[in-house]
Symmetry: C2
DNA sequence: CTATCTGAGTTGCAATAGCGAACCTAGATG
DNA sequence: CATCTAGGTTCGCTATTGCAACTCAGATAG
């Protein structure tokens, strides 16, 4: 296992790094916890609040940020004989966070859960176990040593 | 595309959720940015500081947390004719965050970068483009509708 | 037609965390 | 013996968080 070579600067400048930008949007403990719940199907203010025990004022602000960022949307609903209320649904943009969250879950199960996985993923059609991996177009897994980073020079440090 | 069914509580209680635990460790904007740089090969205090423009006091605290959490380790080094100094290396635990970060990068390129990817991944041996995906043991990609969540009942809400 | 319940917030205040600048320290160099 | 460098710490100020209480709007009950 060779160490990655020492660098003094990242190959992609922070201004151009979409990953870095994404952290402005979701790089916050409560936001991440809200998204975790939302990906499971939680949608309502009081459900988020009760499940996470997040201060209502903070929850309110975080949900507003997520809506502004396009990750969630406010959608009115009404239950029989109740006045109209509001749910927070993931947009398509929000739903696609599923994959990074699954990758993160696998990491966390391995390193923080001692290898126990409270939740596993399975193919409904084939019954096979699913996992997140780095693969080529054919589905062949790449191993760590075989990965090459290709940097688009337009996005490097000083342009 | 059917909506995920409404839930009032997540299927995994927060106490048992390793994903939720991981957010205590890395669910913070600066921590995430530090890890991004570290995965590229940045290791030194002043390099992190200059690249990220993070307050030195905050950087100091975050690095200490990462070391305490087992994600990074302090390692002494000396350059010729310089006194011994310290670098922050990712441990194996830290390195394996690469996959979640690659998944997150792909998400961010798609939704925040308008589809432009400053950085792409390629297989050194085959030259093929690599991407993060949810696959079965054979490398067959699963599509969204075909994913089943299997919950270990021991970790549900009330035990 | 007033009183109560419920879900979805807002408000106010104290405690905490973050920010930026200045300072410290230990050896190597001029 | 003054300066430089890398890796920090300290300090005062501001911004954000956490918590409890309050509001608001409609539906239902008495």
């Amino acid at each position: 296992m060779t160490d990655t070579p020492l660098l003094h600067r990242s190959p992609i400048s922070r201004r151009h790094c979409n990953l870095a930008k994404s952290f402005d949007l979701i790089g916050d403990r409560w936001t991440l916890l809200i998204l975790r719940s939302a990906l499971y199907g939680v949608r309502r203010f009081d459900d988020f609040q009760a499940e996470l025990d997040v201060p209502r004022s903070v929850l309110s602000k975080r949900l507003a940020n997520l809506v502004e960022g396009g990750i969630m949307e406010r959608r009115p609903y009404s239950e029989q004989g109740q006045r109209a209320r509001v749910e927070y649904h993931l947009t398509r943009m929000g739903e696609t966070l599923g994959l990074p969250f699954m990758a993160m879950t696998a990491w966390a199960d391995r390193w923080l859960g001692g290898g126990t996985s409270p939740l596993t993923l399975r193919s409904r059609s084939t019954g096979r176990k699913l996992s997140v991996a780095l693969v080529d177009e054919r589905g062949k897994r790449a191993d760590r040593e075989d990965i090459e980073l290709v940097v688009d020079a337009r996005f490097s440090e000083k342009k």
